[in-house]
Amino acid sequence: MNALPNATDAADDAPVVRAIDIARHFDVSPPWIDRVLRRGGRRLVRAVDGVSFEIGRGETFALVGESGCGKSTVARMLVGLERPDRGRVEFLGADLQAGSTAAARARRGRLQVIFQDPYASLDPRWRVGSIIGEPLRAAGLAPGAGATAERVAELLRQVGLSPADATKFPHQFSGGQRQRISIARALAARPQMLVCDEPTSALDVSVQAQVLNLLQDLQRDLRLTLLFISHNLGVVHHIAHRVGVMYLGRVVELAPRRRLFATPRHPYTRMLLDAIPDLEMSGRPRSPVSGEVPSALAPPPGCAFHPRCPHADARCRSEVPREIVEAGADGPAMVACHAVEERRIGVAAAAT
């Protein structure tokens, strides 16, 4: 369960963050009285069901998957917006949730988050200067109005905006510029780590390129550690050092980026890579993609992917696959699949 592939050479020594077998279950039971009258039981959605990974300093780790696979819930647990029902998150060597001392709060401040919708995550009644200055005040990082204004100007320049923008309101900016404001606000607390939950999904492709370039520049300059949540495999291929593929609350494959895209092991990863619309228009035959992600309310027994998997057999239908960790020149990789373990399917080059 606790397979923890190490970080790649992009990072040094101790990991910045470790997720250790974290799980989050949501109770979606009908009200108590209905349960009694209809003799129904409780119903749990296992949004995340035992996920482990670690991310090294200066590294970008991406989680990909389709809607409802639990990737955003992992992000929310990592920044402390959800408490894991099982397992724990360690940040800078200590339990993320533990402690209410000033030191513990300051440590949690080193972990910041950027959300998908820059329209919803900025208060429309606050000026940009106050939005970015708030975390400075809260953490006491730049005491005094003058110092705060100076730091806000510096942050705005850092994300490619003008210091004069501090007096404007969020509605005066385009979507891409708003995402820059979100990034400036996240950087205000001098974080070591940014959790980015679909940060470019609401943006046009040319604006997405601006934001991705900005994130890469900031990572290089500030040695930021990034957890990057996305459903867009092209974006993930571009920005990540290592990639985890999630399906119905579990990581089914985790590998260094190049290896995952060149030689995907898990049938679900192969299917995802095969399904990406291709700019090259090679006219390659698609392996037929069939079915949809089942409901998390009633996940299939055994391997959750078995109803859609061309390689499924009796064991896949009954037994949850073990996480198999394999070493490699570019770092270890993990795959959870009976067919791979039994060598029923080999390593196939990806179609892309």
């Binding site: 389709e66 809607s67 385009s174 979507g175 891409g176 510029q177 046009d204 492709v205 040319s206 604006v207 997405q208 390129a209 601006q210 991705l212 370039n213 890469q216 459903h231 867009n232 495999l233 092209g234 974006v235 291929h237 571009h238 920005i239 190049r258 895209f261 299917m271 995802l272 095969d274 399904a275 990406i276 619309p277 291709d278 700019l279 090259e280 228009m281 698609r286 993609v289 069939s290 949809e292 992600v293 892309t352």
Partner: protein, 323 residues
């Protein structure tokens, strides 16, 4: 040579505002042949959805058509009375939108909605209409259609709902289909299924498709020709492979370079600085010139026109520097 199925000539659409009219579509001309898929791409605000809405006659006030003409099979349709346009919609022109839930009535079973659409447009009896509805559900890949016939929209998943919307759009075998971001709300594996479905239906029935999307990957896999829009104008149009692999307009070049690809060695994405201009501040000359790295004096003063018809293998561009 047959005339194209759809022909749009110098279409202008304006929005009346307190500050005066805003020109949202400026001299847009394009055509689609039967059985052809034309991809219309561009970023938010470029006018691509508005072009689709104009063709199906669904421009809402304060927007209105101020010039140009739209011809279907050589017959003008932009000046039809609303009653006649409504008959045309559904019968000759089908439409698919991004969010399948807005196109389906939550209170009726999908079977009833299909039969109603079929009988509105085709002279079929109840039993024949039901059979046609079942055939449509099967053709769009709904498993066990006869069971699903009596289900309500909320009982289907997102991908299945989009299939039902496609079935509805195709109910009267329209000769033209306007698909506005049909796969944007769907997961990538479902998206691939819907693209395959659209392509197959288009080939089998000779339906012409206007595919409006911002997703270049979807366009690349689906379209025969591509029109690129910027600030209310078509700035480049030509065969899909040419526009994608040999783009001519500096904006298209930048757009293609900004897409993350699956080849290694690209450390940094190409980036077009700035943003699409607002409708009330469209720059003079070529609207792209303030963001263009190759702009010369002429680009600031004089508006470039497309340098070719952009069809039958021609790859046209509206740019002083590229042509």
């Amino acid at each position: 040579m047959n005339p194209p199925l759809l022909q749009v000539n110098r279409l202008r659409v304006e929005f009346a505002t307190r500050g005066g009219p805003l020109l949202a579509l400026d001299d847009v001309s394009l055509s689609i042949d039967a059985g052809e898929i034309l991809g219309v791409v561009g970023e938010s605000g470029a006018g691509k959805s508005l072009t689709g809405a104009a063709v199906i006659g669904l421009i809402e006030p304060p927007g209105r058509i101020r010039g140009g003409e739209i011809l279907l099979d050589g017959r003008r349709i932009d000046d039809l009375p609303p009653q006649e346009m409504r008959r045309l919609r559904g019968r000759r022109i089908g439409a698919i939108f991004q969010d399948p839930l807005t196109s389906l009535n939550p209170l009726y079973t999908v079977g009833r909605q299909l039969v109603e659409t079929i009988r509105t447009h085709l002279p079929l009896g109840a039993a024949a209409a039901r059979q046609r509805a079942l055939d449509l559900l099967a053709a769009t890949g709904i498993p066990s259609p006869s069971e699903r016939y009596d289900h309500y929209p909320h009982q289907f998943s997102g991908g299945m709902r989009q299939r039902i919307v496609i079935a509805l759009a195709l109910a009267a075998e329209p000769s033209l289909l306007i698909a506005d971001e049909p796969t944007t709300a769907l997961d990538v594996s479902i998206q691939a299924q819907v693209i395959d479905l659209l392509r197959r239906l288009c080939r089998e029935h000779g339906t012409a498709v206007m595919l409006v999307t911002h997703d270049m990957g979807v366009i690349a896999e689906t379209a025969d020709r591509i029109a690129v829009m910027y600030a209310g104008r078509i700035i480049e149009i030509g065969p899909a492979a040419d526009v994608i692999h040999r783009p001519r307009h500096p904006y298209t070049v930048g757009l293609m370079g900004s897409i993350p690809r699956f080849d290694d060695g690209v450390a940094r994405l190409a980036q077009i600085d700035g943003a699409m201009p607002r409708l009330d501040a469209i720059p003079t000359g070529c609207a792209f010139h303030p963001r263009c790295t190759r702009a010369v004096d002429r680009c600031r003063d004089e508006r470039p026109e497309l340098d070719g018809p952009g069809r039958d293998g021609n790859h046209a561009v509206a740019c002083w520097v590229a042509s």
